[in-house]
Symmetry: C4
Subunit: 322 residues, 4 copies
């Protein structure tokens, strides 16, 4: 607009009109200067200059606070998930490792044949009675044919025989895997009977390692206290008897892998209306604040570009006519 006026003032080359032209030009310069000055003012100065309330600034501050709050809440929820996983690992160690005591993970090992069988039968019994044992809501994983079984796999050297007394050996370095599956419901009937029927013999001379695999399910209901829906977890537990060194010390370790997913069906009844409204409002406010902030920023950028163009042209004009 200012530009238009100044361009129309270019042909006022008459005497009186020259003064008027100069005056009008001076006015245009003043206008542009004021506009530029105002554009680069901070909210505080704007308030002093035109009594304009700094509502844009307030919006930005509120936006930062709300997003920080959301981030912290997300972090806490994440931490809860990590703690849940770690405490479950501890629980599995206490449930499935016989005689396990905290802080001796490194030295946990078995040294005799009887101990190896004992530890394996202990795992079978604990798994069979899991529902009666655990204080948590652990459950067996199910596939279409029922519960997934406990599988005990031994890795052995194929067709090998070792005679230290004669210092002779016949070894085939290829490793065979032999597995036995035990179904929890079946063993619930009679864990002892299962053991006898098990027909499970370890060939310690050829044995490289024993791996016991379990699959369990759990729901992290703690989240409900933080106003979130509980998650479902699939734990894949492996107890490993490592005899790779054949040194008479069979190291034992329990590792647990987990898969977190949304539960199929779940309902949190009667969550306090206040909490729901608070969450809804908080989310709505953040969406609103971010959107408004986006619009305001865009407007400011457009204004800036326009002003830059105008001030460039004006500068050229003033330079040529001034």
């Amino acid at each position: 607009m200012e530009q238009d006026k100044s361009s129309s003032g270019r042909h006022d080359d008459s005497p009186l009109s020259t003064e008027r032209r100069l005056a009008s030009r001076s006015k245009a310069v003043e206008d542009l200067r004021r506009k530029l000055k105002y554009f680069f003012m901070n909210p505080c100065e704007k308030f002093k200059a035109r009594q304009r309330k700094p509502w844009k600034l307030i919006l930005q501050i509120l936006k930062i606070c709300a997003i920080t709050f959301q981030l912290i809440s997300f972090g806490l929820s994440n931490q809860m998930m990590v703690t849940f996983k770690e405490e479950n690992l501890l629980t599995f160690r206490h449930l499935f490792l016989k005689g396990y005591i905290d802080k001796n993970v490194d030295t946990y090992a078995v040294y005799t044949k009887a101990e190896v069988y004992d530890h394996i039968y202990f795992i079978i019994d604990q798994y069979a009675n899991l529902q009666n044992l655990t204080v948590d809501n652990h459950a067996y994983e199910r596939n279409e044919r029922g519960c997934t079984p406990l599988s005990i796999c031994q890795d052995v050297y194929r067709n090998s025989s070792i005679f230290p007394e004669n210092e002779t050996f016949y070894l085939d370095p290829q490793i065979d895997r032999e597995c036995v599956n035990i179904y929890p419901l079946q063993s619930l009937v009679n864990a002892k009977a299962v053991r006898n029927r098990l027909n499970f013999t370890l060939d310690f001379q050829r044995l490289v390692s024993i791996n016991v695999h379990l699959a369990l399910k759990a729901i992290n209901v703690q989240t409900v206290q933080h106003h979130e829906l509980p998650d479902c977890y699939d734990f894949t537990i492996t107890v490993m008897f490592n005899n790779r060194a054949h040194s008479g010390k069979m190291k034992m370790s329990l590792s647990s892998d987990f898969d977190m997913k949304e539960c199929k069906d779940g309902e949190v009844t009667e969550p306090s209306a206040r909490t729901i409204h608070f969450h809804l409002l908080s989310d709505l406010f953040i969406i609103f604040a971010c959107f408004t902030s986006l619009i305001l920023c865009t407007r400011s950028v457009i204004n800036g570009i326009q002003l830059q163009r105008v001030s460039k042209e004006s500068a050229f004009f003033f330079y040529t006519t001034g």
Copy 2:
């Protein structure tokens, strides 16, 4: 001083009356000067100047020693109280936590349903037999209806059911508290019978936490060896089974809150007369010393103010007449 004399010598050539006036004025000046000098002297200089014994200084030193002695005695008595409280906490842990070993407070937890019941029954039995167990003079707290009971409270989610095998849950985040009270005298008859009658079932799926509350009384008689009257203590003990995480690991902790008060009735017979007299004399001396010190300080302040006023007036007088 030399300067003063020379300044007063300036008017030696004046008549006789002037000389007398000057002499009297010189005397007044000397008096004031001496007074001021004496006022700002330290005890050592006063002793040198007038052979005055520094009994005020000695009084102050004695006061400081006596108060320090009293402070130390008070500190020791306080430390005894803190030790008593801490050792009682340790004792409660050993009495009420099954299989508790010092230094494993952090990892003390239960992992199976049977263990949870065991630990709770252990607390009940220990509480019922407390008077036969404890080597200290612990006693049950009494209210108007007899002994205060042991109360076992379980916090559970209201009307909830969790099915990890189906990945479904119906949760009500509101927490209900269900409590059972057990009276020690009643259980003294037959702890086992009480257990059976107890009708106490834990719903582990919905369980958030179990809190067992006890109230015990004790008297800290150790103080009698430090010539103080024993204090009575009310201990409020809480054993907490924390299942908030639902991770299969139920953390256990025992905390103890205490309330110290004067005993209702107590008599320490035949305390050695020497000790009583010593305490009485010590207290009397401190009261006397503090009071005398107060009077002396007040007097000194008053003297100071008077001297200040006099010296101001004199200065004015000398200035106008000098």
Copy 3:
């Protein structure tokens, strides 16, 4: 070069034969110079100068890589041996020391006569049942007459008697050794019976130390996974009850000495052809590379010496004729 030309140009005013002689000499100088220059060139410059591929350099680099690979492989194989030995020591401690727990090696001791007998009988029983106990392939050492025995030796002061109650003693500082041998096969029949027949009495007053010696054999089959033939080990185990101090604390320690040797007869069937070929090729390549490298180095040294001799002669010749 410029200098040379100018120096040869100095005699241009001589007759024709002189010119020819000079030309031939100049050519010889040029040849020698070129030879010398080429001798001291690095592979890069040689390639630039004559397009000769730096195959000697490549050979050296390949040789370094191959030897490094061989060294690492040898180091890993050695580490496996050390680990095998250390884990066997741990295993022997767990098998033969009653109530042994990791990390209390320093404080492992016995304090009563009954404990000493218990620990010795425990060792006998464990040794007799070793084949049924160990998860590793431990076996008894055999000599021509059968298994080597477990030998229990007590060192006692000769003909000594000590009466602390009377504060008298008759001591002979010379130490006698009394040994009992127990054959594993014999004890396999009935460990308890052997004990009774053992006629083994300790004279604690005169006792200086008890040493129990065992000899076991084992094969480190872990190597087969690293494509090496397993080694045979002879372990000599000594359990020592040290009563030298006569302080009522009899320190116990188990030490294990080992002797590694090639097994008498062994066969690793069907090792994957690829692995064998790889090892064969790798070894052949290293031999070839090292041999070629040796020949090349020798050639280079001979060339160097010849060149040195030639250049010395030439310099002399040039000097005398120039």
Copy 4:
């Protein structure tokens, strides 16, 4: 020297008698100078000057070596004594403290009445069977009437009663000691019977502490291996149950005091003649070396004083006559 000659040359123009006198004086000066010079020479210079072998130096070096050897031998013998005492303390803890494990000295405590009785009866039983238990040569101390008894003393507040339930107490801070003596030979017959007859009741409410006192004898025969006569030890052992705090935690501690003395009668038969001769010779040599060293030092000091006197007189003489 040059100066001296020149100064004596000053009077060369005097008569003959003067010359003779000067010559004799010059000789005396020379003698004294040589003596002084020789007195301050080190052994090396003396050897160079007069070929005198430095046997005094060698004697000193041998003396230092021999005394160092004696000191080390004494230190080792002393260390053996300290070790003997410390290991005995450990042994007593393991023998008389029920369930004692190394490294929990600080937390060793009892918390229930039954445990207190158990621990006391354990001490009685262990003491009664000591001769059958200990692997060392511990024996009961004897006085004229037989063995010294095990004495169990309880310190209690006199005529006190404490009622924490009513918050009342009647306390007499004076402490009475009640003791029970148990004779080992008597209890050897039947430890259980003794217990029943013992008529030993603890009044836990008034109890301040229980002290169990034992006295044992032992002989440190280890010294015989270091070619020294064994020493006899009297151990006074105190097991303390500290209930001073009345906090329900009764701290237990075992302390052992010892008295080392020469045994009444002892004989070390057939110590190798070589060792005895070695010790005798070593001692004789040290005595001889020290004595010779003393004489030599004294002679040197006397010589020094004489020389000092002579040189002073000469200096005066030369000064006055020169």
